[in-house]
Amino acid sequence: MPHDTTPSNKTLYQKLVDSHTVRRLDEDNVLLFCDLHLMNEYTSPQAFAGLHEENRKVAVPGQNVSVVSHIIPTDPSAIRIIHDAASALQASNLARNCAMHGIPLFDTNDAMQGIEHVVAPEHGMIRPGMVVICGDSHTTTYGALGALGFGIGTSEVEHVLATQTLVYRTAKDMRIRVDGTLPTGTTSKDLILMIIGQIGAQGARGYVVEFCGTAIEQLSVEARFTLCNMAVEAGARGALIAPDETSIRYVLEKCPDIVGQTRESALAAWKDLRSDADATFDAEHVFDAANIEPHVTWGTSPDQVLPISGKIPSPESLSSEIRRSAEQALRYTALQPGAALAGTPIEHVFIGSCTNARIEDLRAAASIVEGRQVAKGVRAMVVPGSGAVKIQAELEGLDKVFLNAGFEWRKPGCSMCLAMNDDVLMDGIRCASTTNRNFEGRQGRGAITHLMSPAMAAAAAVTGMITDARKMEQTHAN
């Protein structure tokens, strides 16, 4: 296929928007064509209802896919039965809508069921250069493969169903360069928590972030998913990593249809998916990966985060803009200013979510758990991100590692990340969690969430407190 060799000075983001622009609507907005639209059971019902009210059809059913993600039970019984009547109706309603319009569906008892953002890429549905949207804010995940992903609301879900396009307000470009090598025992979760802590929960608001630098190049695709997934917690409207050998190898493994001449054309097209050397960004941040420690949140916003050796800040020491939210957060999390975060007792551990429930995450957690026991008084659960992740983990014997240590090994789903199914924390319970949001009440009314990496959550499970996992590994090796 002829390849456009016109010199340009565009960012990767601008190239993705340009290649999907049907027409410009005004100075700020374009009509954007969408390659893949993911749906779940709770942000799509009213969109289908609106569509039906207006007698409109789904424009391109094959570019849409649905996954029952948020409400499915994770208990280990063979057949999943949704006991909550309203949730069961959401699931059956989604199945009916998908059948009516010919939209592919991962239904409640599909063997490959799981979290939408884990299921789609592992079955080759996400490819470099695509625009991917979903009624879920963590759609930024797909930037890991050089696809522009972002979350939309239900009205926009209806718009996409009817037209396969969106009225899209273009964002500004931000580059975040991270050079160096992440130290042993730290992960992309620590990296993104550090970045959110530094730039703030609104630091990337209005921007699409492109991550680059030697530290990013060294990350596996799974680690990149984690990074891009949480970029939305800095307010980003999208996150991108230019496709490289690592991500293209991943995609080709998952996409049996990209072979022969198609493969040659795809590889040629994907070569251009990078910011031009003279492209300009509206904002830029530079970080060094070399000295990053494991990070853990202490508050109720993902930017209220500390390196594990750090001390909980006293609100008086903070600038006036963030003081009020810090006071509010400390009241909720019941932590003392000036105290170390390490050593804080926890009662629950949740390893799961679209941020950290992929096979590499489970391997990292299992490596800490192996040969140890969950601490007395702690309830710990692992919820794999998908059926495929669960099967792979069981092939590797990770389920046994977790079960032998006293963890619950559950069925895949969103589970206790937002607690829309039966997995809800009780009031006042403190949880070490591999999820993405530590908001008030997120995992249950009054429950307190500390975000961290899978290894750190595993360390918390076996020690009963927030613990530097790097020290655990050393103990274990001895």
């Binding site: 296929m1 290649s19 049907v22 027409r23 100075e27 700020d28 009509l31 064509f33 893949l36 709770y42 942000t43 019902p45 209802a49 391109v60 094959g62 570019q63 409400i71 959401q90 010919g102 939209i103 569906l105 063997a111 490959m112 079955h123 549905m125 490819r127 250069g129 695509m130 879920d136 804010s137 979350g151 939309i152 609301g153 239900t154 009205s155 718009h159 037209t163 396009t165 009225v167 307000r169 929960a201 609104q202 608001r205 307010g235 996409c255 049996p256 990209i258 198609t262 054309s265 795809a266 097209a269 963030i322 009020r324 939210s325 937002l418 829309m420 949001r437 908001f439 009440g441 009314r445």
Partner: protein, 216 residues
């Protein structure tokens, strides 16, 4: 659709930063397949205690605030999940506008699309407005979309709003209907897009069929 876009009303201050959509519309109210019943869920944990009784310390529950139709919020109002239920809940409760220093991205487009007016002002102006709202003799607030002006007692401020959103507020627009006017252009675009990148065409359908036909 109503097209009067001067909002006159009673403002109530919620001095909370990062008020996320999980708090604006908690998860237990997301189980419907229609938009009904969301007024009850609005800010549920703030408005009600664990036994379901109204919390007197919540400003919205004060008897004088029964007619609140404008919220004065903290920074990053509506951050977090994409759930549009948060916007529907605010509207069903009777809120017509939220005035805050900044808003979550997806929330912003959800709100404006549903004609819940979001007014962004600088934090100092909002602090002054909150002090006024908390006082005994709070004046009515006037927000005029056409002139982009807020008037609250002695305070006057101008707010940003895009041309597109302003038109949507003043005239009411069926966005899907407008886009469907370009249907032929979309089809032509799609055909050329797929010709260049055949591997993105029907990607979900093809991969799901492949998966379902593969031996497990």
């Amino acid at each position: 659709m109503p097209t009067d876009r001067t909002i006159t009303g009673q403002a109530t201050a919620l001095r909370i930063d990062n008020l996320d959509t999980d708090q604006i519309m908690p998860k237990q109210f997301l189980r419907g397949i229609d938009k009904s019943g969301l007024a009850q869920g609005l800010l549920y944990d703030l408005r009600f205690d664990k036994s379901g009784t109204l919390r007197p310390e919540c400003a919205l529950n004060h008897p004088d605030r029964a007619g609140t139709n404008v919220l004065l919020g903290g920074s990053n109002f509506g951050c977090g999940s994409s759930r549009e239920h948060a916007v529907w809940g605010l509207l069903q409760y009777g809120i017509q506008a939220v005035v805050a220093p900044s808003f979550g991205e997806i929330f912003y487009s959800n709100a404006m699309g549903n004609r819940l007016l979001l007014v962004q002002l600088d934090p100092q102006t909002i602090e002054a407005m909150m002090d006024l709202a908390d006082g005994a003799e709070a004046p009515p607030m006037q927000i005029d979309v056409a002139s982009r002006k807020v008037t609250y007692g002695p305070i006057q401020a101008e707010f940003p709003i895009s041309q597109r959103h302003q038109t949507m507020f003043l005239q009411g627009v069926d966005v899907i209907g407008l886009t469907l006017n370009h249907q032929e252009e979309i089809h032509a675009f799609a055909e050329s897009h797929w010709a260049k990148q055949p591997w993105v065409r029907d990607v979900a359908k093809r991969m799901k069929e492949h998966l379902d036909s593969s031996p497990r």
